[in-house]
Amino acid sequence: MTIHAAGNAAPVTAEDLRNRPATPAQRVHAVLHRQPALSPAIVLVLAGVVFALSNSRFYQPENLSLVAQQAAVVGSLAVGQTLVILTAGIDLSIGAVMVLSSLVMAKLALDNGVPGAFALPAGVLVAFAAQAVNGLLVTRIKLPPFIVTLGTLSIFTAITLIYAQGQTVILPPGSFLLWSADTVSIGSLHLTTGVLMMIGLYVVSGFLLRYTAWGRHLYAVGDDVEASRLAGLPVDRIVLSAYLVAGLAIAVAAWVLVGRVGGGDPNSGLNANLESITAVVIGGTSLFGGRGVVLGSLIGAFIVQVFDNGLALAGIDPNYQVLAVGVLVIAAVSVDQWIRSVKA
């Protein structure tokens, strides 16, 4: 780096211009550009501090364990949503697929007497099949993901309701499918296997995105689909694979949901579509594709749950939680726009 002899000397060459000291805003900008998960992490920590000050119960291990359990369903789903959004797509049907998958698992086990170890893969298959429909419509018929998944949202919701016949299915205690609700104690934290499955999803998807060719290709396609095509990437296959791998995350989310509900409930998880998008957006992943990390989505899912729990503990009208999340979404997208505005 060139060091100016006199701080106030005007830059004279292009070299000088390029190497001039960064303003504080530019430094922040550069850091956020490199670390998309940093700004949501700061929000999470700040929220945690404020809620802990307002009610000391907030940071008790029992309560933090609950928050983790509450975030596990949307957190798992957000992994799938992140993959799709990284390709500059969006999946509005993701929650509907999860509810359908969870009902298939629970109903097969309870109503049809299928052993849980077989009902589970059946539910996983349903999630994959649904995501194959989404992915093929996007890549083969070339429909915009928003429209495709808006349509399949209706379709999967309707199939779920027809299949469920308005009934909630509660599994008997000890069912294999309820394994995702088993308690796992780590120190004074009482997590569930569902929470650990979610964390596993983040580790695996984080690794795949960062260290494999597939992951880098996903970013490339999301960032500039034409450049990727010209570079010889099988663009359609990569996009399709994002929807399919998202199917796995959906299936995990479905299993976690079965654990939380204690079975299958067509009314549970109805808001998960938008909640997963909210988590991803708050987590700093760009809706324009190509930028973001899964870790951000995990933080995003936690932020939403921390506001929900923290405001409840503070005895504040739950409407303010909805309001706060809305403000965060706008703020997160604004930060994203700002980061994208200047290419260093």
Binding site: N55, R57, F58, Q60, E62, N63, L66, Q69, Q70, V73, L150, L153, S154, I155, T157, A158, L161, A164, Q165, G166, Q167, T168, I170, A181, T183, L257, R260, V261, G262, G263, D265, P266, N267, S268, G269, L270, N271, L274, D308, N309, A312, L313, G315, D317, P318, N319, V322
Partner: protein, 349 residues
């Protein structure tokens, strides 16, 4: 959010037209439900179909896609007028359907509101409903009586955030009134004093630990109960807006190792009564959705064939299809049925 998914769920038999009127032949009736996601309304559909088969009624069923979806309902009302139906049975999703219902009435259709009176009630020719306040009150009285003077720490697991849905307010306020606590408002939840004395049972002091929305679903009930317990681990009374919310609350209590905390639910499905029998719910206020729908179909069939108009229950603005409390242990001062007795009239499977 609003998604067109279940618009116009037509029943198997919907071809034979009935526009000719007169005293014989099949009578067309439209059943327009809030949603088909809730077993409560599915039970209405089932019993309405059974009654329709008996009365030679051509029943067409439609439902909103979500609670609050008035557009689908308005379309269904328009369709009923166009089809020449003799009457409409509707559980309205909101006041937006009022104009369409008025239009139906001026076209000669008899409009029966089911489950909840529309606002204003005059929008329908008559309402067949359960008194939701009475249902909540039974639960509240039972809760107060079982406390035997102990201090009550109450979790209120409501339906929504927005606090303007009548069933939400009626059940919530009914429960508080049953416990002998002034709800503090006639139009909003969570307006009662947070601490004070309850006068139900042998009386005592109370604290409201929380009012949390559940969306009437299991996962919402669970999250709400978890947050309530975190806020106040001393909770010893749980009111739940409906059975799914109560099931979620039970899951949260179970995970916290507090299965002895009583949950007071409302709905009265067959599945719910089993949960009373097994001790997961302390009590369940039973309603009869199927009876409302069956009676509605029957009334329109009779009216179309020259019978007289149905009339309201004495002292109420609607025809009360009744409510009863189901609990394992009868308590002094509260009338209750056992789960076995209640199951003769329960709904769902």
């Amino acid at each position: 959010m609003a998604v067109v998914a279940t618009a116009g769920f037509a029943t198997a038999c919907s071809s034979s037209g009935s526009a000719s009127g007169g005293g014989t032949g099949s009578v067309g009736v439209a059943l327009i439900l809030k949603t088909l996601t809730n077993p409560y309304f599915v039970a209405m559909e089932k019993d309405a179909k059974a009654e329709a088969a008996k009365d030679d009624v051509t029943l067409t069923v439609a439902a909103g896609t979500t609670d609050g979806d008035t557009q689908t309902q308005i379309t269904a009302i328009d369709n009923a007028i166009a089809r020449g139906d003799k009457g409409i049975l509707i559980t309205t999703n909101g006041d937006a359907v009022n104009a369409a219902l008025k239009q139906a009435e001026s076209a000669g259709l008899f409009v029966i509101a089911l489950d909840t009176a529309p606002s204003p009630p005059s929008v329908a020719d008559i309402t067949y409903a359960t008194d939701n306040t009475a249902a909540g009150r039974l639960d509240g009285q039972y809760a107060a009586a079982s406390l035997k003077g102990e201090t009550a720490v109450i979790a209120m697991l409501d339906l929504y955030n927005n606090q303007v849905v009548s069933v939400d307010i009626d059940r919530d306020h009914g429960f508080l009134e049953g416990m002998g606590i002034d709800p503090g408002s006639t139009t909003e939840n969570a307006q009662e004093a947070k601490n004070g004395d309850y006068t139900g049972g042998s009386g005592g002091t109370y604290t409201i630990a929380c009012h949390q929305p559940t969306q009437g679903a299991v996962d919402g009930g669970r999250t709400a109960m978890e947050n309530c317990l975190s806020a106040n681990p001393g909770i010893n009374v749980v009111y739940a807006i409906n059975e799914p919310a109560a099931e979620g609350a039970y899951a949260a209590l179970k995970a916290a190792g507090k299965t002895d905390i009583p949950i007071y639910a409302i709905d009265g499905s067959c599945a719910g009564l089993k949960l009373v029998a097994s001790g997961e719910f302390a009590s369940d206020a039973v309603q009869y959705p199927g009876k409302m729908a069956g009676l509605g179909v029957d009334s329109i069939a009779k009216l179309a064939r020259g019978g007289s108009k149905p009339s309201v229950t004495n002292g109420l603005s609607f025809y009360n299809t009744g409510t009863a409390l189901v609990a394992n242990t009868p308590l002094a001062g509260v009338t209750s049925e056992t789960p076995a007795q209640g199951s003769s009239a329960c709904w769902g499977s």
